[in-house]
């Protein structure tokens, strides 16, 4: 359905997107995972025809999107990271406006609005001004606008930023339902690993404008199949402790955070005994140890040397 080839965007001699390739099949749910500044939003802007690339091409059903922008635009719904709504207008008025500029009219428009409002659970509050809504409700209207004209491809740019867990789950469940039941194709960007793991069939991991890895969740985790993640909670961190850990042959990576260390190791059993010795030598107190199976977060850590929220 969608194919991105060697896409590049350079701003002031700096590559925001650096020759990336990706594809999406109809009915798939694909994630773009990466920290802030990885180039996800720029990639989405180019895919959705809002931004011309410096190099490369985007094809939708085999046609260059910039040669026939009207076609992809009419078949695509975009949910921007920002609340792209008129906050002084009600949800109903916003949907009426966006529906009309998408060419919906009369009874069809009315029915589509009510159907979409039902989908996002805002039928009861449809006449209230958007500015009076909670963050989660605004996000749901933001999503409703993108769904109004029955798109084939839904592109979502971090649609759950800054909202409560309940609203986030509501949105994720709704998208999963649309993807599974209505075969809506989804391109979902996020820096929340758990969202992408829950929602997406395949994932592209981006960093510094490049795709550093791609595949299904399982394929990506297999990058770390011989490794484990140990999370060590401490009272306070110490540089000496970190240096000792890095000298250990089983330790591949050590990431220090406030009150904890995340270690990627090949043999946890070998390390555990010595872990306490290192702590004692560094005059540190260990509060707890957790050994985990690798997550996409760990994969990202392994590939880039930094966390998704860096």
């Amino acid at each position: 359905m969608l194919e991105v080839q060697n896409l590049e965007k350079v701003f002031k001699k700096k590559a925001a997107v650096d020759h990336i390739n990706l594809y999406i099949e109809k009915g798939e749910s694909v994630g773009l995972l990466g920290p802030n500044g990885a180039g996800k939003s720029t990639t989405i802007s180019m895919i959705s025809t809002l931004l011309h690339p410096t190099n490369g091409r985007v094809q939708f059903y085999g046609k260059d999107v910039f040669e026939d922008a009207r076609d992809i635009r009419s078949k695509m719904g975009v949910v921007p990271q920002e609340i792209a709504l008129y906050e002084e207008l009600s949800a109903l008025e916003n949907l009426q406006f966006f529906g009309k500029i998408h060419g919906l009219r009369g009874q069809i428009l009315k029915e589509k609005i009510q159907e979409t409002l039902g989908l996002v659970g805002l039928k009861d509050r449809q006449k209230d001004p958007v500015k009076d809504y909670s963050g989660g409700m605004k996000r749901r209207v933001n999503l409703a606008v993108a769904l109004l004209h029955d798109p084939e491809l839904l592109i979502m740019d971090e649609p759950t930023v800054g909202i409560d867990p309940q609203s986030r789950n509501y949105i994720l469940e709704m998208i999963r339902k649309l993807n599974k039941e209505k075969q809506l194709t989804v391109l979902y960007t996020s820096h929340y690993m758990e969202e992408v793991e829950k929602l997406c069939d395949r994932v592209y991991i981006m960093d510094h404008g490049q795709v550093v890895a791609s595949g299904t969740n399982e394929e990506l985790r297999s990058i770390l199949s011989n490794e484990e993640t140990i999370e060590v909670k401490v009272k306070q961190t110490s540089e000496a402790f970190k240096e000792k850990l890095l000298e250990h042959p089983s330790v591949n990576q050590v990431i220090a955070a406030e009150g904890s260390y995340t270690l990627i190791v090949t043999n946890s059993e070998q390390l555990l005994v010595q872990l306490f010795e290192y702590a004692e030598e560094s005059s540190m107190s260990i509060l707890g140890i957790q050994i985990k199976k690798p997550t996409l977060e760990d994969v990202f850590l392994h590939l880039t040397g930094r966390t998704l929220r860096d």
């Binding site: 025809t49 931004l51 709504l85 406006f97």
Partner: protein, 424 residues
């Protein structure tokens, strides 16, 4: 595009702050200025007493004609020419025309003229404050005027005016009326000579007085009328800033991108901003004029012609504001800050000053007045005022054409500057 315009009007209608800025603030300001500066602007509500003046006429028409005839014959002119010029001179006797003007109803409401036999008599009356001053028509006044007009000799004709205090309002009124008379007489005489006498009858017709110098015979513009228009054209400019700022917010909040993704063309978006700016300005000015008339009787009693011409000027000015809106929209969408709109909002006060919204700028200098007439608001203000002073639409056509020109230049600039490649 209709949906985009409707949305602009809908969002504005929900913004109390903007409605207050666009409608209530100018209404409040015009009320304050209208009351505060009423006396300074010849407010018709301030009743002026009829001023008393004297006139001493030293000349005799027949003697002057005889003297002029003798000069013509000495110059060796053919009999036919002599008779023609004498007939024209008699019809255009300036002393007689001055007398007729003072007898006209409009002037008698302002000035009453008493004839005096001698200067001593007039001086005594002025000393007793019976009259505010007197006009002396010298013995050779008409004769000198004719020689200047028909024989192109240097004029020595002078009306001698004596007033108690030149700064008194009645002295100013007399001075204005006499200046108006002289300008009109010169123009009418020039027309008569240029048309070889065909316009002589019109020149002698009292009904024609005031058609050229309207301010001398029409109702003077009062402070409420002046400030309704002044504040109206001033605050109309803020419509452009207001709509363009919304466009900038639409870009910042990615609503603009969303609109573009609905397959609206960038030009349709730009023109929607222009039409929104035009419509909002048109409504704003009409509401302001109506409210001012309801509360202060500003334009009460004005005829259909006045309202039709006012609607036309309002439309053209709204078009200019709409074009400014589109230009600001293009500039805002190009830049990454709202500084352009911010600068324009600050600059509006300068435009308002130059355009004469706060005070008539001709009192400062002709240059400022001329510069002011090249500002959109100044051109509109001058057009409104001239229509109120009784000028025809044809006479203010240059100002109207100027407004259309400004609108076109700004619209073309807006189209050229609109960012076409980056839509997010």
């Amino acid at each position: 595009m209709f949906s985009l315009i409707k949305k602009d009007l809908l969002t504005l209608s929900k913004s109390k702050n903007e409605l207050i800025e666009l409608l209530l603030t100018p209404l409040l300001l015009l009320s304050i200025l209208g009351f505060a500066l009423g006396g300074l602007m010849n407010n018709t509500e301030v009743e002026l007493e009829t001023a008393e003046f004297g006139v001493i006429n030293h000349q005799n028409l027949q003697d002057s004609l005889d003297r002029f005839e003798s000069d013509l014959r000495e110059a060796g002119m053919p009999e036919e020419t002599v008779q023609g010029l004498l007939s024209a001179a008699a019809a255009m006797d300036p002393a007689e025309q001055l007398n007729r003007m003072f007898e006209s109803e409009e002037i008698r409401e302002m000035i009453n003229i008493q004839p005096y036999e001698s200067i001593n008599e007039a001086e005594a009356a002025a000393t007793d404050d019976e009259i505010g001053g007197f006009i002396e028509i010298p013995e050779s006044f008409s004769y000198s005027v004719w020689k200047s007009l028909f024989l192109e000799e240097e004029t020595t004709a002078e009306l001698e005016v004596t007033v108690q205090d030149p700064s008194q309002i009645r002295a100013v009124v007399l001075d204005t009326i006499l200046s108006s008379f002289i300008e009109e007489y010169n123009l009418q005489a020039s027309v008569a000579i240029a048309t070889e006498g065909e316009a002589q009858i019109a020149a002698a017709d009292n009904q024609d007085y005031g058609e050229i110098q309207r301010f001398s015979t029409e109702e003077p513009i009062n402070s409420f009328q002046y400030y309704t228009i002044g504040m109206g054209v001033f605050y109309a400019l803020s419509v452009a800033g207001s709509v363009a700022l919304r466009a900038y917010k639409e870009k910042e909040q990615h609503v603009f991108a969303r609109i573009m993704l609905s397959n609206q063309s960038p030009m349709a978006y730009l023109f929607s901003k222009m039409v929104s700016g035009t419509l909002i300005t048109y409504l704003q000015l009409l509401i302001l004029f109506v409210l001012s008339t309801v509360f202060f009787g500003t334009f009460s009693g004005k005829g259909l012609d006045f309202w039709m011409n006012t609607l036309l000027i309002t439309f053209l000015y709204s078009l200019v504001v709409g074009s400014v809106t589109s230009l600001l929209t293009s500039l805002s969408l190009r830049s990454s800050s709202d500084a352009t709109v911010g600068f324009f909002s600050s600059f509006i006060a300068v435009l308002a000053f130059l355009g004469g919204s706060f005070t008539p700028v001709e009192t400062f200098s002709e240059l400022i007045k001329e510069v002011g007439n090249w500002t959109p608001n100044g051109a509109a203000l001058s057009s409104y005022l001239q229509i109120m002073m009784g000028f025809d639409l044809a006479e203010i056509a240059p100002l109207l054409v100027r407004m259309i020109g400004m609108s076109l230049v700004m619209l073309i600039s807006a189209v050229l500057l609109f960012p076409k490649r980056r839509l997010n």
